[in-house]
C-alpha cells in the first residue's frame, strides 16, 4: 500500500471568521503503482487533499495517515523522507524556477536531499532527458524559455528527486493540445519506467479517462465517488449531478442510449467504443 488515509479533516483558518472546512472525513488509499486521477468541481478540496500527502498541510484531525511507510499522524513526522518519496508538481509549476541555469534549477531538489555532486548531475540530466529538454538548453536561463519548456523544466525539477509517488496538481492547465500530450506522455513514461504511483488532479476529463486506472471524485470537501475508471464513468447521471462534464465518449454513449440504443455504459475510452461499434457491425 502506497498511501492510506482514514477520516481526514482539514479546516483552513480555524477559529477565525473566515474558517473553511475544506475536507470532511475523507478516506483515501492508493496501491503501489496505481495511476489515480482526482476530479471535482472548483473548491471541492482536491488541492487541499493532495497537499497532505507530503506533509505540506497538517490535518486538523485524522485517524490514520500512512504515506510510503511514514506515519504522518505523529508529532514530528519524518518530513525529509516523505518529501523525497512524494514528489509534488503544483499548478503552474514554472513559478518555482529561480536558478541561473536550467541544469542548476533541476539540481535543486537532489542537492537538498544531500546527494553527492556526480549523482545530482546524473539525476538532473536524466530528468531533463525524460521531459525532452535537450542538452543545448542546459545552460540557458530558465526565464528565457517558452511557457511549455518552462513547464517541462519545472516538472524535471521534481522528477530528478526520483519520487516513488508523483503528485500533480493540474499539470496540463493552460497548455496547447500538443503541449498537453507531451506532458501527459512524460508522466506516463515515468509511471511505467519506475512503476511509480501517480496521483493527478485534472479538469481535462477527456485526457483523464485515457490515462487513469482509478478515479476519485471530490464534492464539497467529501469524497463522492471512488472506483475503477470505467465504473466511475459509467455512472453518467451521478457525474452530471456532481457538476462534472462527461468524457466525450461517455457523452456520446449517454446520448445514444437516451435515443434507445443499448450500449454498455462502461465504455468510456475511444478504443473501446471503436471496438464495440466495429464488433457489432461485423
Amino acid at each position: 500500500m502506497s498511501i492510506s488515509i482514514k477520516k481526514l479533516n482539514y479546516v483552513y483558518d480555524p477559529e477565525s471568521p473566515f474558517s473553511v472546512a475544506a475536507l470532511e472525513d475523507v478516506d483515501f488509499s492508493v496501491q503501489d503503482g496505481e495511476y489515480v486521477c482526482i476530479l471535482g468541481h472548483t473548491g471541492s478540496g482536491k488541492s487541499t487533499l493532495v497537499q497532505h500527502l507530503n506533509g505540506l498541510l497538517k490535518p486538523t484531525s485524522v485517524e490514520e495517515m500512512l504515506v510510503e511507510g511514514v506515519d504522518l499522524t505523529v508529532k514530528k513526522p519524518d518530513m525529509k523522507t516523505v518529501r523525497q518519496k512524494v514528489g509534488m508538481v503544483f499548478q503552474y509549476p514554472e513559478y518555482q524556477l529561480f536558478e541561473e541555469t536550467v541544469l542548476e534549477d533541476v539540481s535543486f531538489g537532489p542537492k537538498n536531499m544531500g546527494l553527492p555532486n556526480e549523482e545530482v548531475e546524473k539525476r538532473a540530466k536524466e530528468a531533463l532527458a525524460l521531459v525532452g529538454v535537450g542538452e543545448e538548453l542546459f545552460s540557458a536561463s530558465p526565464f528565457e524559455l517558452s511557457g511549455g519548456q518552462k513547464r517541462r523544466v519545472a516538472i524535471a525539477g521534481v522528477l530528478s528527486m526520483k519520487p516513488k509517488v508523483l503528485v500533480l496538481d493540474e499539470p496540463i492547465a493552460g497548455l496547447d493540445p500538443l503541449g498537453k500530450a507531451e506532458i501527459l506522455s512524460v508522466i506516463d513514461q515515468y509511471h511505467k519506467k519506475y512503476n511509480a504511483t501517480i496521483i493527478m488532479i485534472s479538469h481535462n476529463i477527456d485526457d483523464v479517462v485515457e490515462v487513469a486506472d482509478r478515479i476519485v471524485v471530490m464534492h464539497k470537501g467529501r469524497k463522492a465517488l471512488d472506483g475503477k475508471t470505467e465504473e466511475v464513468f459509467s455512472q453518467h447521471e451521478r457525474l452530471l449531478e456532481l457538476g462534472l462534464e462527461l468524457p466525450s465518449v461517455c457523452e456520446l454513449v449517454y446520448r445514444l442510449n437516451l435515443l434507445g440504443k443499448n450500449i454498455p455504459t462502461t465504455i468510456c475510452r475511444i478504443d473501446d467504443l471503436v471496438q464495440f461499434v466495429s464488433g457489432v457491425k461485423k
Binding site: D13, F18, K80, R83, F90, F98, F108, N112, M161
Partner: protein, 273 residues
C-alpha cells in the same frame, strides 16, 4: 475569502462599521488627542470606558482588540521602566546605589503605560472597524482640499489601494512558492545558515519575477481602460455622511467635554506629571 483578513479588519455588521470612514478617521484623531491631554487617572479611566463602549457597540471581541498590544508590548514595558528609573522628583521609596525609585516616578510610569495602551487600542478601533479600502477612500477625500497646495492626494490614495490590493496576492504567492520549494526539499526554518539562505533565494526570486509581471500587467490593464490620473474621475461609491455620523460626532463631543472638565477641575486636586 482570506483576502480581507489583511491587517486587523474584523468584518461584522455594526453601527460603528457602517459609519463614514471620514467620520471614523476624524473621531479617532480626536480620541488620540484627548487621550494625550487627559491629565488624571480619572480622565484615562473615562477614555478607557469610552473605548470599551465603542468596542462593545462595534461587536469586536475584546480579546482581538487587546491582541494588537502584543506587538508593541516591549515598547510599553520599556517606557514604563524609563519613567520608573529616570523620574527622580518626589519621595524615594526605594534606593540602591544610583538607582532611585520615587513615589511620583511610579505614578508617572503607570500613567504613561496606561496612556500608551489606550492610544494603541483607540487607534486599533479604527483599523478593526474600517476595511483598508474604505480607509484609503476616506483619507483621499480628507486630503483632497490639500490639492490646491500641490499635495497629490489621488495619486497617493491610488498607490495605497494598489499596494493593499497586492498584499493578499503576494502573500498567497509566497505561500504557493514556499510550498513548491519545500516539496523540493528546501527548508526555511531550520538547518545550516547557508542552506536557509539558499531556500530564501529560491523563494524571493520567483516572488519578484511574478510581482514585476503582475505590476506590468496591471499597468497595461489600467491604461487599456483609459486611466489617466485623478482629473475628472468619478467614483463608484460616493461617501456620504448620514445621521449616524452626526450622532457619532455628538457622542464624541460629549466625551471631549468630560475630559476637558476633568482636566480643569480634578487636575487641580490630583495632578500627574
Amino acid at each position: 475569502m482570506k483576502d480581507i483578513t489583511l491587517g486587523q479588519y474584523y468584518p461584522v455588521k455594526s453601527p460603528v462599521h457602517s459609519l463614514d470612514p471620514r467620520t471614523k478617521i476624524i473621531l479617532t484623531v480626536l480620541l488620540i488627542v484627548f487621550v494625550f491631554i487627559s491629565k488624571t487617572f480619572a480622565g484615562l479611566g473615562i477614555c478607557a470606558l469610552f473605548i470599551l463602549l465603542v468596542d462593545f457597540i462595534a461587536r469586536i471581541p475584546l480579546k482581538n482588540l487587546l491582541k494588537s498590544l502584543k506587538a508593541i508590548g516591549f515598547i510599553i514595558f520599556f517606557t514604563f521602566l524609563l519613567n520608573l528609573f529616570f523620574f527622580t522628583q518626589g519621595n524615594a521609596v526605594f534606593e540602591y546605589g544610583i538607582i532611585k525609585i520615587t513615589d511620583s516616578g511610579i505614578t508617572r510610569a503607570v500613567f504613561m503605560a496606561i496612556r500608551l495602551i489606550l492610544l494603541i487600542v483607540g487607534a486599533g478601533l479604527l483599523t478593526f472597524t474600517t476595511s483598508p479600502i474604505e480607509l484609503t477612500d476616506g483619507l483621499e477625500r480628507l486630503f483632497t482640499p490639500l490639492k490646491v497646495i500641490g499635495f497629490p492626494a489621488h495619486e497617493i490614495a491610488m498607490m495605497m489601494s494598489i499596494a493593499l490590493r497586492f498584499i493578499p496576492i503576494l502573500s498567497e504567492e509566497t505561500d504557493k512558492i514556499m510550498k513548491a520549494q519545500s516539496a523540493r526539499g528546501a527548508v526555511f526554518d531550520q538547518g545550516k545558515l547557508t542552506k536557509r539562505v539558499k531556500a530564501i533565494v529560491a523563494l524571493l526570486i520567483p516572488l519578484l519575477v511574478s510581482a514585476f509581471h503582475r505590476a506590468l500587467e496591471l499597468a497595461n490593464a489600467m491604461e487599456a481602460r483609459c486611466y489617466h490620473g485623478g482629473e475628472g474621475r468619478t467614483r463608484l461609491k460616493v461617501l456620504k455622511m448620514t445621521k449616524k455620523d452626526a450622532l457619532a460626532f455628538a457622542i464624541m463631543g460629549i466625551f471631549c467635554l468630560i475630559i476637558v472638565v476633568d482636566n480643569l477641575i480634578l487636575s487641580k486636586i490630583f495632578l500627574v506629571g
